[in-house]
Amino acid sequence: MASLRDIKGRITSTKKTKQITKAMEMVSASKMNRAEQNARNYVPYSEKIEEVVSSIAQGGGDASHPMLEARDVKKTGYLVITSDRGLAGAFNSSILRRVYQQIRSKHTSADEYTLITIGRIGRDFFRKRNMPVDMDITGVSDQPDFADIKDIASNTVQLYTDERIDQLYIFYNHYVSAITQEVTEKKILPLTDLNTEGKAGRSSYEYEPNQEEILEVLLPQYAESLIYGALLDSKASEHAARMTAMKSATDNADELIGDLTLSYNRARQAAITQEITEIVGGAAALE
């Protein structure tokens, strides 16, 4: 049996770990609230832009733009959103596993796909496996501004425009609730899955100067906004996942401390009992 001193040491160190995980849990909880708020702020923009894009796409029969048309797929782009830091439970591993399996099952050579990563964990994962990472961005703040990711979003869309990739998928964790996040796969380009069911009262627009030029401006902006939306969603999920992971770490620490305290008390009691037995034994020997 471990000595009293050993057990006491373990209790102290577990208590310290618990303090840290507890603090991280609370930090993540507040970050999650703000990230959730950001994601909510973004909703009006995304709804509006989607509405306009789909009404243009369905409205004018002659609207054509490379981004609206599927072409033969020679190379696929995968945009993977992970976090920069770990300690977030299965947040990163589940998404990386999904992407990895997807790539393994769909592609036989590295020329058929390319990866764009947001977050350090994702970048390192694919680099280590010698998979082509075309672009990466790390150190995105917890409350990202659109300006922070504008470059990578527009460069990614540019890859498609330059026909260096022929379709683009995005993988991220969708924030369902504070305890549930879902790995989500979404096809961003080409924009063939637009919701073209007309909503009541939707008007057909005049285009100034003309439809093509509008689409020229609108579609890249729309694709970029989808990427930004996914990032906000993923940030909220990241903090939620970290919060849950830290909460269970704190709970585990509590349990461990409970067990250790019990064995500490037992050991202490055993020591006392032994002392008494020795004294009684000594006294009996004198009689």
Binding site: N38, N41, Y42, P44, Y45, S46, K48, I49, V52, I56, D145, F146, A147, K150, S203, S204, Y205, E206, Y207, E208, P209, E213, I214, E216, V217, L218, Q221, E224, S225, Y228, G229
Partner: protein, 134 residues
Amino acid sequence: MSTLTVSVVTPDGPVLEDAFEMVSCKAESGELGVLPGHIPMVAPLTISAVRLKGEGRSERIAVSGGFLEVRPDKVTILAQSAEKPTDIDADRARMAKERAERRLQDKQADIDFQRAEMALKRAINRLDVIENNF
């Protein structure tokens, strides 16, 4: 007098939503004025100031690109960034302007001219919007 509901939305959240009588802005094809009852329209905007006029008041908003969606009773401006004069960081805009100017003057082959030019335009636009208000 009839009014238009104007909302300015960016990815970082709504910037403004209020009733105004007239919207004037600079679209890619030229200056554009919108009054209530306008035919539904979509037009891309340049990096410019959007001017909103209401009962005895007017507002200016610096927008960086984006586009304008018009309905008879509603105008929506969707931009990647849009700021009211009070939200603009003048020092930052001034610094951005100087930086962009330096880049353009350097004439090094490896800099992205287009980007520097856009950055310069945005900075000048922001400064214009502030100065016209004070």
